[in-house]
């Protein structure tokens, strides 16, 4: 079976106005303008199979949203080819729209003043969902989350979590082949996050829906994605299994210690002593990311014990969060 999404050498450029500064600059801008070209997406290629959940990661401004806009047919690539379910999305935007569902940031696509169920009914008509499919879908929703109390609540009265949940349900309603989720858990509390992750996972399993997920929350990635794609400054940095990614940093382990005194200041002292490794501190622990090719953790620990009185320690494998952070900072070797 051919992949559901095929992206070949896609590039997208924008023209951006250089604004001059200050009062004099504004006056100059009035009469002459100066544009520069920015390459938001730079020669990206990937294939995505039906039923995958792909984490699409990158720092802010990396070009994630631009890629998604191209896959949904809102933007036309400057060069390269995109096929979504066999369609060129930009040329067949409406046809493509029938096959996809989108939850874009915190922008609700539901009718603001209407109870959720009325939004669902309108979507049922717009997407021409049959009565049987619609009823099945609602039954499935009810079995996954308790939607009954949400259905009769106007969207504008919902909490952010309820609204996000509703938006996700609305995106899956017409049983699309692909759902794009742009930062679905942003700003939500821990329990809502986990509820939404469970829901996405279940819908992906039940309906074999392909899910493309952009997020800054590595909890989302750990809970949902087997494969991740990382992009930065428009260029693709990584596209493979999450396990494979950790393999790059297999020699890294995180040593967490607790010492007397203020952790932040102590962390600076330790950083000065261990110049090879990055040291950071939070409220409870000082974390040292140790590269075991350079020094064994046990030796580092010994070194520390000579200068500090350690009260507690912990050893962890490198977390996704740290891997991604290292990639953003240093790239993949």
């Amino acid at each position: 079976m051919s992949p559901i999404i095929e992206i070949k050498n896609v590039t997208k450029e924008f023209k951006v106005l250089n604004r001059r500064e200050g009062l004099r600059g504004s006056l100059k801008d009035l009469f002459s303008r100066d544009y520069r070209t920015v390459r938001a997406v730079d020669n990206i290629s990937m294939d995505i199979e039906q039923g995958e959940i792909v984490g699409y990661l990158g720092p802010n401004g990396a070009g994630k949203s631009t890629t998604i806009k191209m896959m949904t047919g809102v933007l036309e690539p400057t060069s390269g080819e995109i096929l979504v379910g066999g369609n060129v999305p930009y040329q067949n935007r409406t046809k493509n729209a029938q096959e996809i569902g989108v939850v874009f940031g915190q922008r609700s696509q539901l009718w603001w003043a209407l109870p959720l169920v009325e939004s669902f009914r309108l979507l049922k008509d717009i997407y021409q969902i049959s009565d049987a499919d619609y009823d099945n879908m609602l039954a499935l929703y009810q079995s996954l989350v308790d939607i009954e109390p949400l259905l009769h609540k106007p969207v504008r009265q919902m909490s952010l979590g309820q609204r996000t949940l509703s938006d996700i349900l609305a995106a899956f309603l017409h049983d699309p082949k692909i759902v794009f989720l742009d930062e679905p858990t942003i700003g939500l509390d821990v329990s809502m996050k986990s509820k939404i992750r469970t829901l996405i996972h279940a819908l992906n399993r039940e309906k074999k829906t392909t899910v493309i997920l952009t997020t800054h929350d590595m909890g989302d990635v750990d809970a949902l994605c087997r494969r991740i794609v990382i992009i930065d400054k428009g260029k693709m940095l990584y596209d493979n299994d999450i396990e494979h990614l950790k393999g790059f940093f297999g020699s890294y382990r995180t040593l967490k210690i607790r010492v007397d005194g203020d952790l932040k200041t102590q962390a600076d002292v330790i950083q000065n002593a261990l110049r090879d490794f990055s040291v950071s501190a939070d409220d409870e622990w000082i974390s040292i990311l140790v590269d075991e090719e350079k020094a064994k953790v046990i030796d580092v620990l010994g070194q520390l014990q000579r200068s500090f009185s350690l009260r507690d320690m912990q050893l962890e494998e490198i977390s996704t969060e740290e891997v991604i952070k290292k990639i953003y900072e240093e790239g993949v070797q």
Partner: protein, 267 residues
């Protein structure tokens, strides 16, 4: 996928309309105040008209009641743009904030989906004023009232509406290219105030401009001549329905072209 014909769009529109009315009811105070505001606007329009023309039996060969007829005609022909295309006024905010993107993800016509979202019921008040004025001046001028006249009236009112709608669509669509399109839209909106005067008061140069460059004269003057002065109807009046349809289609194309060019803010 099933074909989406006119029937499909009509059904969807009715459903969205019903929902929109329901949600309007939940803001009752706003509805009442807006309606009063609309009535105020119309009354003030009439007072201005009356102050201006009360002391003159005719202006440039146009009698007081003929002028009033033009005025009423422009009011009625402005109703559809007010009722069905009012969401154009919010377009620039949606584009500016990036929220416009939510309209791009649905498998239906983008222009239709966007405009369907708002039905402005206030326009109906204006319609009532307009019909009243038309009937009153119709009687005062002593025009005949036959089914044929009524049919002509309806056809040419629709014509005039289409032109105003076209102007507004095109004006609203400018926000896809320039940031602050409010002024453009406001300008197009002010056209309606200029539309209610007979074009013969202008010098030939401006008569040409208001006919062919900025087709203000088609909003009330040319179409209403068919009813008002049936003996001296210029060719342009008979052609105005064609212009109406053509202008509307052009404006639709511009709007859609702008929307597909639209990239949304942010990366």
């Amino acid at each position: 996928m099933k074909r989406k014909g006119l029937g499909f769009y009509f059904r969807i529109y009715c459903k969205i309309l019903a929902q929109d009315l329901k949600s309007k009811m939940s803001y009752r105070a706003d509805f009442i105040i807006s309606t009063i505001g609309m009535i105020f606007t119309n009354i003030s329009g009439f007072i201005s008209f009356w102050i201006l023309f009360r002391s003159f039996p005719s202006i440039n060969g146009w009698s007081y009641y003929e002028m009033l007829f033009l005025y009423g005609f422009s009011l009625v022909s402005l109703t559809p743009v007010q009722c069905f295309f009012d969401n154009n006024w919010s377009l620039r905010q949606y584009v500016y904030s990036g929220d416009f993107i939510k309209y791009c993800f649905r498998p239906i016509n983008l222009f239709f989906y966007y405009q369907s979202e708002v039905f402005d019921i206030k326009g109906l008040g204006q319609l009532a004023f307009g019909i009243g004025t038309l009937a009153y001046s119709w009687a005062k001028i002593g025009l005949a009232f036959t089914p044929l006249m009524l049919l002509k009236m309806i056809v040419f009112l629709i014509t005039a509406s289409l032109i105003m709608i076209a102007l507004q669509n095109a004006a609203a669509a400018t926000c896809f290219w320039i940031q602050n399109s409010f002024y453009v839209l406001d300008l197009a909106f002010r056209f309606k105030d200029y539309a209610k005067y007979p074009i013969t008061i202008f010098s030939p140069v401006f008569r040409f401009i208001f006919t062919f460059v900025m087709p203000i004269a088609f909003i009330a003057y040319y179409p209403s001549l068919v009813i008002l002065r049936p003996d001296e109807v210029p060719l342009l009046s008979w052609l105005s329905p064609v212009f109406g349809v053509v202008f509307f289609l052009i404006s639709y194309r511009i709007w859609m072209y702008g929307a597909t060019k639209y990239s949304g803010t942010g990366s």
